[in-house]
Subunit: 309 residues, 2 copies
C-alpha cells in the first residue's frame, strides 16, 4: 500500500440505487484500485452509509472523496439538493455539497431538477455521466439518450443541460412482465434479439398504437402457443419503440450519430430500435464516464489532494 499512499489523490464514489462502486484515483485521474458492494439506498441509516463507506475504503489512504448518485437523495447519506435546469457544469460545481466525515472531506454532487410549473422531472447520477460525456465531446450540442430503468432524454447545449425528460420504459417492462397477465406469455428470456429486430421493424413500418400491441402478445400466446422467449423480445421492442416515438413527439431532436449512454446490454437493443427508425446510433458505456467526470469535477472544485502528506 506504500505506492497507493504516495500517489493517491481522490476517492471517487458512484453510489446508485442497487450498487456502489468506489475507485482510488491518482493525481492524473488514473484508477489505482476499484471495489464494489451493495448500495443500501432506501433502507440504510446515515450510520450504515458510514460503515459501508469505511468497509469499502478501509485500507485506502486518507484522501478526499467525491460521490455521485442516489447517495445524495433524501434516502441517501446526506441530501444534496437538486439544481434547476437549465444547468451548466459550472452550476453543478458551484452546488457541490461538502461535509466532514471523521476528518475526511466528502463531496456529493447534486442532481438536476426541472420544474416550470407544468412539467416536473429529476435526474441524479446521470448529470455525472453527462459531465464525463462532455469532457470528451465538449462541443456537442443535441440530444443524448440514456437507456435505463428510468431512461433519460437530455438536450445538451454548449455544456449545459437545457432540457430533459424521463421515460419509465425499464420499469414498465418489469411491472408488465412480472405483475400483469403478460407474465405467463413473456416468462422465458433467451437473451437474443432476432424477434426484437423484427418487431421493431414492423412497428416502425405500420402506424398502430403501442398500447394496442401489448394484449396482442398474450392473445398470440393463447391462440398460437408462440414461444415466450419471442414474445418477451417483442414486448421489449414495443416498449422501447414507444419510448423513441414518445421522445420524438415530445420535441427532442435526434441527429446522427445518436449518442446512447448506458450499459452494453441495454444500448444494444436501443441501437436496433433506432436503426429501425433510420437513425445511426453510437453507444458509450455510462460507467466508463463516471471516474473521469468525478475527477474533473473534483479538480474544478479544488478538492483533489495534490501534495502527499
Amino acid at each position: 500500500m506504500g505506492n497507493l499512499n504516495n500517489s493517491a489523490a481522490l476517492i471517487a464514489v458512484d453510489w446508485g440505487t442497487t450498487n456502489v462502486r468506489v475507485a482510488l484515483l491518482d493525481v492524473s485521474g488514473k484508477v489505482l484500485d476499484e471495489r464494489r458492494g451493495e448500495s443500501g439506498v432506501g433502507h440504510f441509516s446515515a450510520q450504515q452509509f458510514e460503515q459501508r463507506f469505511d468497509e469499502l475504503t478501509a485500507d485506502w489512504p486518507m484522501v478526499p472523496a467525491i460521490a455521485a448518485g442516489m447517495i445524495g437523495s433524501r434516502q441517501g447519506w446526506r441530501e444534496a439538493d437538486y439544481i434547476a435546469c437549465p444547468a451548466s457544469l459550472k452550476n453543478l460545481a458551484d452546488a457541490l455539497h461538502t461535509f466532514d466525515y471523521n476528518g475526511r472531506s466528502i463531496t456529493i454532487i447534486p442532481g438536476i431538477k426541472l420544474d416550470d410549473g407544468k412539467r416536473f422531472d429529476v435526474m441524479r447520477g446521470e448529470e455525472s455521466q453527462l459531465t464525463g460525456f462532455l469532457a470528451k465531446h465538449s462541443d456537442f450540442t443535441g440530444c443524448v439518450i440514456m437507456p435505463g430503468t428510468h431512461s433519460k432524454w437530455v438536450t445538451l447545449e454548449n455544456g449545459t443541460v437545457s432540457d430533459f425528460r424521463t421515460y419509465m420504459t425499464g420499469e414498465i417492462f418489469e411491472a408488465l412482465s412480472e405483475h400483469s397477465i403478460l407474465k405467463h406469455s413473456v416468462m422465458a428470456d433467451d437473451g437474443g434479439d432476432e424477434y426484437f429486430s423484427a418487431k421493431s421493424a414492423q412497428i416502425a413500418e405500420d402506424k398502430q398504437s403501442l398500447e394496442g400491441e401489448l394484449f396482442g402478445l398474450r392473445a398470440r400466446h393463447l391462440l398460437e402457443g408462440c414461444a415466450t422467449e419471442r414474445l418477451r423480445q417483442e414486448l421489449s421492442a414495443a416498449l422501447i419503440m414507444a419510448e423513441l416515438q414518445a421522445g420524438i413527439q415530445d420535441g427532442f431532436i435526434l441527429a446522427n450519430p445518436v449518442y446512447l449512454i448506458g450499459t452494453e446490454n441495454l444500448t444494444s437493443f436501443y441501437e436496433i430500435a433506432l436503426r429501425a427508425l433510420g437513425y445511426r446510433p453510437l453507444s458509450v458505456r455510462g460507467t466508463s464516464l463516471v471516474w473521469p467526470a468525478l475527477f474533473h469535477l473534483a479538480g474544478n472544485a479544488g478538492i483533489i489532494r495534490t501534495e502527499n502528506p
Copy 2:
C-alpha cells in the same frame, strides 16, 4: 318455491374471472331470483366448478342453464373454443358448447378471436354484453368502448363484430400503482374526479406523449409534495387518455354518441376523458345487458324450457 318451479325456464350464468352471478329467469326473461359468489377461475378443478354451480342453484328447479364468460376458457369448467372475427350473432349461436351435467343441459357461449397472422386478440364475456346491446340497438353500426381491466374497442356492423382490439389500461394502472416507483406517489384514493378532469383537459390540449407524463407524477410528488390523491387521478387520466388516443390511432372511428359499456364507476371516468376530446359519450351498464343477452341466445338455440314438467 312452488312459483319458481312453475314459471322458471332458464338459469343464466355470468361466470367471470373473479365473480360468478347466476339468475333464474322465467319464460319471458324476467328475473325470478339472483345470486352471486366467487368464481374460482384459474384455480378451480372441473369438480369444484360443479360444486360451486350446485351451491348457487341448489334450491332452484331443474331447468337448462346458459353461461358466459371465463367459465368457457381453458382454465374454466369446459372449454368453449373461440369463433373467428368477423363474427355475427348467428355464428355465436351456431357455436354454443352444450353438455350434460347430472341430467341438466348446460350451454357455454364461446369467445371471439382475431387472428389474421399479424394481429391477435381475444374476447370472452364481452360478446354476450354486445349481444345484449344489439338486442336494444339492432341497427347500430360503429364503435363501442368497453372499459375494464382489459378494455375492448369493438366495431359493430349489421349485427356483426367486425373488428376489435384490447387495451390493457386497467391492468397497466394496477401494475404501475402497485409495482413501480409511482406507488408512493399515487397511494391515496379519494374517489374524486376533479384532477382527473383537469389532467384530461390538459392532455387533450398539449401534444406531449403519455409515456412522458408518468415519471412527471413521481417528480412532482418529490419536488412539490403534491397530494397522492391528486396524482392518482392524474395517472388514471394519463392512461385513459392514452387508450383513447391509441384507439383512434388504430383506426376505430368514434361517432356521437359514443357508447360506453361497463360499470358506473369506470364509465364515468371515460365519459370525462371523451368529453375532453370533444365527444358526447353515453354509458350503458354492462351487467344489465347480460341476462337479456343470455335469454335471447338461449331462445335462438331452443334451449329454454317452455313447458312445465
